[in-house]
Each structure stands twice: as C-alpha cells, then as structure tokens.
C-alpha cells in the first residue's frame, strides 16, 4: 500500500494510504479528543466511527468546513490543524449543545465518575452551557430484568447500535425519528423485554453515559443480609476472580480471588461459595452428556449452554437448532438448587430460609435467574415457599459498588478461603471465564474419562485467544473429536448458519459465548471493557489456572463428594431434576 505524507500541527508524518487523520495524528504524537468514536467494539475488526459527536473535528487547509478526524482518510500533502481557536470553540459548543439536551443529575447518576461525557467536558474545559431550550423527556424503560434504558441520558452516539447490530447481530435497537425528537429505542418502540434483546449487555459496556445500564439489585442483597432469619449464600463466577480488582486500582487481570472472598465475608454473607465449583459440576454433566450423545447417536454437534445471552439468542433466531443445545444448566443455575437441597440438608437449614446471591460478569444472568423454569429446588421439595433457585444476581459492577458502600479497603484485604461443601474450584473451572475455556475444561475431563489415560498436556492452545472462531481436534481411543469455539453472537451466527445448512455434521462439540472474549468481557464487567482489557483479563485467567493444584474437574474432591453422597452419578435421576433444563422457541411467529 502506498504511503501518504501530511502535516499535522506543523509536524510531518507519513502513514499508509487509508489511515484516518485521527490515527495519523496519534503517530505524530498529537492527541485529538474523541467521544463517540470506538476503535474496537468488542472485537478488533469492528469499528464505530459514525462521526456523530463532532468532538474530533479539525481544520484542514483548503477546506472551508471542519472534518471529523475519526473517519476522514488522510490525503497527500494535507495540512491539518487540530487546536486552532476556531476548532476549540466548535468542540466546546458541540459539547454544550449535547449538554443542553442532557438530564444533568450527575451526582446521582449511575455512571457518575465513569461517564465519558463528564470526562470529555473536563478534558476540554467546558465551563458553561450557553444554549438552553427544550429537553427531551422520555419514560425510563426498566421492563427487562437485566438492563435499564434512560433515553434522557442518550447522546445518540449509536455505539449501542453498533454493538447490538454489528457485533452481536441481534439488532434489537434502532435510531428512530428525525431531528431533535430522534431517539435510540428498542425496535418498533416496544419495551425492551418484548424485543429480541438477549440481555448480553454489550450495549451497556459501550454506552458513554448512563443511557443504558445494568439493573441495580444491590438493595435486595443489603436487605437479605440484614434479615436474621435468612441464610444468605453467595457465589462468585470464574470471570469475577480477575476483574473486580480493576475498580480498586489493581492492574487489569490481577487475581483477587482471596480478597473478593474476604470482602464478601465482611459484607455479611453467611457462606461464600465459588461458581467454579458448579462449573466443575457442569463439566461432569455436560461431558458425560457429550459422551452419551456420541455413543448413542444423539444430536451432534452439541452446543454449550453456559451463556444465557447465547441461550436467548438461539431461542430467538435458531429455534430449530435447540436440540443441539446441552440440557445442562449454567454453573450459576446449578449452584442455586444444590444450595437449597444438598447444602441445606447437610447443614440442617430450612431451604425456605436460604437466599442465594450470585456475582456474575453478566447482565443476562439476571434474566436467566428470572426464567420461570428456574425453580428446581421448590419443585424438588414440593414446597412453594422456597423462592427461586438463584434469588438475586449482582453484576461485577454492582458488587464493586457494594464494597465501596461498605467502606471496605479492598486492595489491602488479606486473602481468605471459600467455605467448604461448594467452595473448591479447579483450574478447569477457572478457565470458564475466558472464551474456549468450557471447551478446554470439557476436553480435559472427557479425554480422561473416555481413554482412561492421563492427558499428556492439559493446555489446549488452539481454542484460546481472541480469534472469533477457533477449532481443535483430539484423538480419544481412535475417535477424532472435533470441536469449535465461537465468541460474540455475530461469530455464533456464522456457525449456526453452517449447522443449519448441515455443513458441520462431523463436529462434536461447539462452545458459544455471547460476549467477546467470553465472560471476562461480559456485559456486567467493570467499565471500560476494551479489547486490551479483555486480553489482559484472559491472561489473568490462565495464570490462575496454572497456579491451582487441581486442574481437572473430575478430580475436584468436593465434586466427587456430591456424587458419592447425593447425586450418585452424572446424568442420574437427581441430576435431571436439579441440574438440567429445557428451552423455549421464541422469535417472530
């Protein structure tokens, strides 16, 4: 590709043809401020550069008007000026316009402190809002158990639309109307819950303001903890082990497991369990299900079922492929009913009094816990007074807020261990947090169960990393087991189209994670969650896997104990009652 030389603020810079002014300026060491621009929406190849905010405008010699640097390619000999008085005045006025149509209740706003609009106004020294006039006034949409939309905070940057439509191919959001009355809304103006939204929360991760945020359920947890009658247990998802620390100034990807347990104990939970434990349980059930399907001519390839956003996606868009999905519940929904049956029995606690909280990287988990069929413990005991299997789901962001509310100095907490019975998790469970992890964990167990031999090398490098579709194969007793891994629903859609066309018949197992990078990039994770953050968190996940003594699910002593004492065998009667589920075809009729 040819090179282009141009001048930016008096500096000559040479860049490949097609480079934007913004990138060329970066190379010249000139920072042009941006607001709506996002270089990588979840995955490296997805860019958001509609040039909506007009904050990155610059002057180009010979052009009468400003150009937006985020989406204007450089030209030979171009002379660019990035901070003339005219440009600075325009940027400020554009921001003032934005603020003139923004509900400025910043101190009580859920995004207070992490709002990009706030930050850019500080950066550009905006000190007044000259334009005044009508403000938009839309109702807040809190119909979804996962996500709250406040259109009054929307700056119509449309990042959410890119995340929903291009990254996830769910296409639940639209820009509707003209001029001042235009609004980003769920398709057709329906409440979010009535649309094909899968609650993955990728929109919330990219929203620069508080127009889209997770539903805050922290108060329910404070109340439950304070209720002396309730035995409140909490579980922590694999991906939270390496992300919560970010909010407290620790480097991205730091393993904060021990500190998180200590923090949860200080918050007042009666027992702190690890979703890693039930991830190991999932591997037992899902691995045996796969072996069963292969041996008995079941529907193949089998799909993983851990990601609730993915489950809603297949129910909405590929209901005909539901028989491929493993009937196993997700680790979150496995721990819930076990806490209210096995744990309740062992501890002699009335299951009616047990209150299960989970800390998840995910907004869709809130939706999952609210699904009507997720009350297996109540059915098991035939007792309508037993509440849902999982009572409240907190996202990583909500737990961070609770830790702050309680005034806990997180970074200096000592490491504390999980509580017994459901507190032991293996390295295999830990890697559930990253894309490819469920697959790798399943292979570690399936290989040893099928062949009876010890795996020579535990790490399946082929299924790791941020490539959107990954492939591996393993020889087990002469049978070559072929597996695929996809993350982000756009990549899942590519695979599903092939499955539908019958092209993937010789594959055995497909792992799908709704969010780019897997759970470490989940919609409930700390903001910002950029591609770099995702990669560093993944590193943290594999480091923790290496550190753990036990790295295979079937070797987890607490898992062996529950099969010995309670479940008897994988895919057994109790397993089916408590750990397996069914799916509902949805979508347009």
């Amino acid at each position: 590709m040819a090179n282009v030389t141009l001048t930016i603020d008096g500096q000559k810079v040479t860049v490949p043809e097609g480079t934007t002014i913004l990138k060329a300026a970066e190379k010249a060491g000139v920072k042009i401020p941006t607001l709506c621009f996002l270089e990588h929406v979840g995955l490296r190849h997805i860019k958001h550069d509609v040039g909506a905010c007009r904050v990155c405008v610059v002057e180009v010699e010979g052009k009468k008007d400003f150009v937006s640097s985020c989406n204007t390619p450089v030209e030979e000999g171009m002379v660019v000026r990035t901070h003339t008085p005219k440009v600075i005045a325009a940027r400020k006025l554009n921001l003032e316009m934005m603020l003139s149509d923004h509900h400025l209740d910043c101190p009580t706003c859920p995004k207070n402190g992490i709002c990009e609009l706030q930050a850019i106004c500080a950066e550009l020294n905006v000190r007044q809002i000259r334009p005044q006039g009508e403000k938009k006034d839309f109702p807040i949409d809190d119909s979804s158990p996962s996500i709250v939309r406040n259109p009054n905070k929307c700056i119509v940057c449309q990042r959410c639309i890119t995340a929903c439509k291009v990254l996830q191919t769910v296409d639940a959001l639209e820009l509707y109307g003209n001029g001042f009355d235009a609004v980003v809304r769920p398709k057709g103006g329906l409440p979010l819950i009535e649309t094909q939204c899968v609650a993955c929360g990728q929109c919330a991760l990219v929203c620069p303001t508080a127009a889209i945020v997770e539903k805050d359920d922290t108060w329910k947890v404070w109340e439950a903890i304070a209720d002396p009658k309730k035995h409140v247990v909490v579980q922590t998802a694999p991906a939270t082990h390496v992300t919560i620390g970010e909010a407290f100034g620790l480097p991205v990807g730091t393993d904060i497991t021990g500190k998180m347990v200590a923090a949860l104990k200080r918050l007042g939970f009666d027992a702190v369990f690890d979703t890693n434990w039930s991830a190991d349980l999932t591997i037992m059930e899902e691995g045996y299900e796969l072996i069963h399907r292969i041996k008995n001519g079941g529907v193949l390839p089998q799909f993983t079922s851990c990601s609730p956003g993915w489950i809603k996606f297949i129910e909405e868009f590929y209901p005909d492929l539901i028989p491929h999905v493993s009937t196993c519940k997700s680790p979150q929904q496995m721990l819930g009913p076990i806490a209210k049956t096995y744990y309740a029995e062992k501890k002699g606690i009335n299951p009616e009094d047990i209150f299960v909280v989970s800390v998840m990287p995910c907004t869709a988990k809130k939706y999952e816990a609210a699904r009507p069929e997720m009350n297996a413990a109540s059915k098991y005991w035939n007792n309508p007074n037993i509440t849902r299997d999982v009572d409240v789901v907190l996202t990583s962001r909500e737990l961070i807020r609770m830790i702050r509310e309680a005034g806990i100095d997180f970074a200096s907490l000592p490491d504390e261990p999980y509580d017994p019975i459901m507190g032991e998790g293996t390295g295999a469970a830990q890697i559930f947090g990253a894309t490819g992890g469920v697959m790798e964990a399943a292979l570690r167990t399936a290989y040893e169960v099928v062949t009876g031999k010890t795996l020579p090398k535990l790490d399946f490098e082929d299924v790791r990393g941020m490539k959107d579709i990954k492939e591996a194969s393993v020889n087990m007793n002469g049978v070559t087991v072929k597996v695929l891994v996809a993350h982000s629903l756009g990549a899942a859609r590519q695979l599903m189209d092939k499955v539908r066309a019958g092209e993937l018949k010789d594959y055995h197992f497909i792992e799908i994670m709704a969010c780019p990078g897997g759970c470490i990039g989940g919609g409930g994770q700390p903001i910002p969650t950029t591609v770099e953050e995702r990669e560093n968190r993944i590193k943290g996940i594999y480091e923790r896997d290496k550190k753990l003594k036990i790295r295979k699910s079937h070797e987890n002593p607490e898992i062996q104990a529950i099969y010995r004492e309670f479940l008897k065998e994988p895919l057994g009667h109790k397993s089916h009652q408590l750990l397996h589920t069914h799916y509902t075809p949805r979508g347009k009729k």
Binding site: V50, G51, A52, C53, R54, V57, K64, D65, F66, S68, K86, A89, A90, L93, N94, M97, M98, S100, D101, R130, P131, G133, E134, I155, V156, Q158, L175, G177, N178, G179, F180, A182
Partner: protein, 108 residues
C-alpha cells in the same frame, strides 16, 4: 429573511437524520432563538449566541443539510442584519418585495 431562515431551520429539523449533534440539537436551538426574533423577546446575548451557533453548525455538521442550515443563518445575519433588526423591533418593512408578477403568471 427572518422568515426564510425560520423556514430553513424547520426544514433542517424535520429532515435531520439526527446522526450528528450540530444538526440534531444545534438547529433546534437556533430555531428556538429565531422564534424569539418574531416576538421581539430575543436578547443581545442570544443574538451573539446565534452567530456562534451559525458559525459552528455551518462548519462542523456532518452533511450538507446541517451545514446549509448553519450557513443560511450565518449569511442572513451577515448580509440582512437590517431586516432581522427590524423584525426584532417589530417594524419589518419586508425589504424584499414580493414578485409583483407572480399572480399574473399563476392566474394564466
């Protein structure tokens, strides 16, 4: 001229794709100020703000619709200030007379 810019701003608002801020919000704010020209309630501060708006929207909108809306106001303020001042004072003499021939043409 005041009527023309009012018309132009209405047109821009109705047809703005809403993608960029200057066109979506800026033309609305200009519309609100221009409306005050007609009842004379516009302040000096607002007139000067209208200048700033026109300049910024004309230069930084994403497409020609927003740019033209800004420029229309800018040129009106630049070249037809008398007409606008007269409007503000409530003494507009309609300095550009209606085409006297149009009725004859239409009636043919």
């Amino acid at each position: 001229m005041a009527e023309i810019i009012e018309f132009f701003l209405d047109y821009a608002q109705q047809n703005s794709c809403a993608e960029c801020i200057p066109c979506r919000i800026g033309t609305k704010r200009m519309q609100e100020i221009v409306k005050k020209i007609f009842d004379g309630s516009i302040s000096d501060r607002e007139v000067s703000l209208l200048y700033d708006f026109a300049e910024d929207i004309g230069a930084s909108s994403k497409c020609d619709l927003g740019k033209m809306a800004g420029k229309a106001v800018k040129f009106a303020l630049q070249y037809c200030k008398d007409d606008i001042d007269a409007h503000i004072k409530g003494s507009c003499g309609h300095s550009i007379p209606a085409n006297p021939g149009w009725q004859a043409i239409m009636m043919k």
